[in-house]
């Protein structure tokens, strides 16, 4: 079976500090209104008692990437290791991927007039380094891994996350401990 590189998000550890988001922005030199990684709050009463839980999300590097299917210029490529990358030089800014992605991942850059998205810092991975978001997280709440090796203890979804089956998202979650207690 081929590899499926993806992110694991540990909601127990995430403290919502946005370091990952800022590191991504900084490393990729994104324009101010663009974010390739975003930290979301899970609704406070989701687990029955008021709790602050956050989830840090970027591209889910899906098995069936809706962005890739919708793109008329073949600007998207799914690498053998499962990473979905976007070739900016082929992008014509039609926005079809923006429409198609259920997770609202591809972002249209109004200055460049092209779309961009997280590419799991594949060039860093190829050099044996971690993605910028992973290496900046102070609590080690995000890491990248071959998700085919993960067992059932990792969830495919958290409350508020669109149905991962639509595109077979590879992001995996460690549920907050409050859920495990329940």
């Amino acid at each position: 079976m081929g590899r499926k590189m993806g992110f694991v998000v540990d909601s127990n550890r995430c403290i919502g500090c946005h370091s990952c988001s800022m590191a991504c922005k900084n490393y990729n030199q994104l324009n101010p209104d663009i974010t390739w990684r975003t930290v979301y709050d899970i609704k406070e009463d989701t687990y029955g008692q008021p709790t602050r839980i956050t989830m840090s999300l970027a591209c889910n590097h899906c098995d069936i990437p809706a962005c890739k299917e919708a793109c008329p210029t073949n600007a998207y490529e799914k690498r053998e290791d499962g990473i979905v990358i976007h070739h900016e030089e082929r992008c014509i800014g039609c926005g079809m991927c923006v429409y198609a992605c259920p997770y609202n991942v591809p972002q249209f850059d109004k200055e460049k007039k092209k779309v961009g998205k997280c590419h799991l810092c594949y060039e860093r991975l190829d050099n044996g380094q971690s993605p910028a978001c992973v290496s900046s997280c102070p609590t080690q709440a995000i890491y990248h891994i071959d998700t085919t090796s993960l067992g059932d203890e990792f969830a495919k979804s958290l409350p508020g996350f669109p149905d991962p089956e639509i595109t077979k998202s590879t992001t995996r979650f460690i549920k907050p401990s409050i859920v495990r207690k329940l």
């Binding site: 709050d41 919708a70 014509i92 039609c94 926005g95 429409y99 997770y103 639509i166 595109t167």
Partner: protein, 277 residues
């Protein structure tokens, strides 16, 4: 308006296809008595389709690189749409040149092929929006509503042009009020079904109904064509609407469709994190 080029592209292309299919059908039935008018009409339809396609380029961030969009026929409906509309335009060029007694049989074949490409292109256009990420569009509605625009405005356009030259013998205008009624009823059911849903579906329906132009859309596209033209079905002494009346109804219905398409693009609620059905 954020999607103005797409609004113009979709509405104009659907009028062109509706008109092309109408012209082909009435020609099959011998309803076009003058080749000169038939040729002029098909040229005007070609121009409308061309305006549509040129307009579509301006919704791209990089209009000069539009040619790149031709490559992903395997999975991208946008690529397929471009190819289908191009094939329609190409066959239409042939259609225009066959408007003479000599090529009558060929014209009927080429017209049929062009109409078929056009119809599939409109459906392909709609398929772009049938996406799991857009629950309110992820059904048959985009295809139905895109075709309805063509069915409402296409025959009306052909009728207005033939009326102008006093050659409207087949009462094509009668299609418009009937289609306006079908359109109104199906839109009512569509919004009702969305409202019975939750999350993005319900929010989309509320967005549509609270859109400041929604009332105008309903009055222009559905009520005026039906209310103004239906009475002509029931007059005891056979009467036809005057040219000016028909031209005004076409213009108003056209405005209604432009508004309707703007509402289509700007009221949709997509799936997003914490915005889940």
């Amino acid at each position: 308006m954020h999607e103005l080029p797409l609004v113009i592209f979709t509405v104009f292309s659907q009028i062109a296809v509706g008109a092309m299919v109408t012209l082909w059908i009435i020609d099959l039935k011998g309803g076009v008595t003058s080749n000169k008018i038939g040729k002029g009409l098909s040229i005007s339809i070609f121009v409308i389709a061309l305006v549509a396609i040129l307009s579509s380029v301006f919704h791209l961030g990089q209009p000069l690189e539009a040619f790149r969009a031709l490559v992903n026929v395997q999975t991208s409906w946008l690529t397929r749409e471009i190819w289908l509309f191009s094939l329609m335009l190409l066959t239409m060029i042939g259609y225009i040149f066959t408007w003479s007694k000599k090529y009558e049989n060929k014209r009927k074949i080429v017209g049929g092929v062009s109409s078929l490409f056009g119809l599939i292109a409109v459906m392909g256009s709609a398929m772009i929006y049938v996406l799991p990420a857009m629950p309110a569009w992820n059904n048959f509605s985009p295809i139905f509503f895109f075709v309805m625009t063509g069915v409402l405005l296409g025959p009306l356009y052909v009728s207005v042009v033939l009326y102008f030259f006093d050659k409207e013998s087949m009462n094509i205008w009668k299609v418009a009020p009937l289609m306006a009624l079908v359109y109104a009823m199906s839109s009512f059911f569509y919004i009702t079904v969305l409202l019975s849903g939750t999350g993005t579906l319900e929010t989309t329906a509320n967005n549509i109904m609270s859109h400041p132009m929604f009332v105008y859309r309903g009055v222009f596209s559905w009520i005026i064509p039906a209310v103004v033209l239906l009475p002509f079905f029931f007059f005891k002494v056979k009467r036809k609407p005057a040219f000016m009346l028909l031209a005004i109804v076409f213009t108003i219905a056209f405005a209604g469709e432009i508004i309707g398409r703007e509402i289509f693009y700007n009221t949709i609620v997509e799936l997003d994190i914490n915005q889940v059905d």
